[in-house]
Symmetry: C2
Subunit: 252 residues, 2 copies
DNA sequence: CGGAGAATTGATATGTCTCAACACTTGTGG
DNA sequence: CCACAAGTGTTGAGACATATCAATTCTCCG
């Protein structure tokens, strides 16, 4: 697999490979705990300071990276708006797409343990993220107000998501993988209140291929095949699901 | 892929599929915090009650399951001894092996968020695990003594491990996957103080195949090929790595 | 010893990758 | 404004790897 030279969206200015992360936010604003709880859809309780704006926001232009592989851990991030992809780049130059993130998703979960980020997150569209400074919340002597648990909960959710994407990624046939990928995207759009049957993909065929471990040509062929079967309709990044039942049941 | 009918080791009594988890430990003993810190190799601080035996141990016979898919979450487990495999079973009956666990590994990390276990863990050999009751440690009002952070750290480590196994699982060619699997096993044995070049696999070819997303025949052929190349020597579950450098560098 | 699963190996079928050509979109600069 | 460059996406043909089916041997345990 050849190295990607662009992580930006199709319709934005070309951004050269491996843009250094922006450390100082261009525009800075603050979020409070209740916004974070809402974004994460946390089902537990936090008892203190729900309205105090203590979480720094960071804006990211399409194509920019939020953090890079090996960079020192500087807290978790919750996506407030926009789309991102997280990739691991190998020595040979091949790239594995670990996840696609949208509103409410957590980024950097492996860093709490490793003290470094293990992968690189790129903005696919202009984004806004909220930083959760884990060190502040796990300091000894601090009285538990539920935030530690929420952070732990969010990281645990990340484990579950990885597991779910395992199943998608490793399905036998490529058309099945693509079908499951579309179901996943549909569900995520639905969870945010958008149409589950009509949406625009934020990523390229190559990115999808990197996520599903197939080539971009195979992704394209699979989409065409699903369209041929009248299950979906595709036009570039625009997806329309004609039969969700058929898409879910699709097993090749 | 056909459903596995045995999750036990080759050399143990045959155990029928889907043994109900043992809820009441046959023999019960208790572990203290310093043992858990040591097993996890936690690099942080815990300030209180290091020697108080508050963590219940559970013994598991080979072939038994620790928890099953969908079962209500009842805490995390740290492996004290033995080997386990964690699988996700799909409706069609296919199985994906999520991970192989040994001493110091964490099990059930996705349950903190989901309130249910999402996969099933089987003992490959007789095992002993230690239960971490997360609810007790994240209760509101509790003063932070570092244990919450350790739990969060351990779950975060799990995210990192999943990511690492991603890379192994998704390498292009099957021989490369098997080579990386062997490197992974070698490193884990080394981390526990055993020989990195001579060890016994706890799992069957079918399990390895389920982990790497290839058939058991392909695993067998890949092992034979690596032996042919003088990189390793194989005899059933016995592995001897002749050239670790060649195994690491192997790219097909 | 017998039975059952584990492991190896071979022949063939099938699916995906690779290489290649081409159409389309978007942003840029003459 | 249009042509151009660069990236995106589609489709085809052939090479290659893995799955599948099948036969055989090995190992362990009762």
């Amino acid at each position: 697999m050849t190295t990607l030279n662009s992580h930006g969206p199709a319709r934005a200015a070309y951004v050269p490979f491996r843009v250094p992360p922006v450390h100082v936010p261009v525009e800075s604003d603050w979020s409070n705990l209740s916004e974070v709880v809402g974004l994460l859809r946390y089902d537990g309780q936090c008892s203190a300071g729900m309205d105090v704006p203590v979480f720094r926001r960071r804006r990211l232009r399409a194509g920019r990276s939020l953090f890079s592989m090996g960079q020192e851990f500087g807290g978790l991030y919750v996506v407030r708006s926009g789309n991102l992809k997280t990739v691991m780049t190998h020595a040979e130059g091949s790239e594995h797409v670990i996840s696609f993130s949208m509103q409410g998703d957590l980024l950097g979960a492996e860093g709490v343990c490793e003290h470094h980020y293990w992968c690189e997150s790129f903005a696919l569209t202009d984004c806004e993220v909220i930083r959760l400074p884990t060190d502040d919340y796990f300091s000894p002597g601090r009285t538990g107000d539920g935030v530690e648990r929420m952070i732990c909960w969010a990281i645990s959710r990340e484990v579950g998501k990885r597991q779910a994407s395992y199943a998608i990624t490793r399905a036998a046939k490529s058309e099945v993988r693509v079908a499951r990928f579309l179901v996943e995207q549909s569900e995520r759009h639905a969870a945010l209140g958008y149409s589950p049957t009509r949406f625009t993909l934020a990523m390229t065929r190559r990115d999808i291929g990197g996520y599903l471990s197939v080539t971009l040509e195979t992704v394209s062929r699979a989409l065409s095949a699903l369209q041929q079967m009248q299950i979906i309709e595709v036009s570039n990044r625009e997806i329309c699901i004609h039969s969700m039942a058929a898409l879910r049941a699709f097993e090749g």
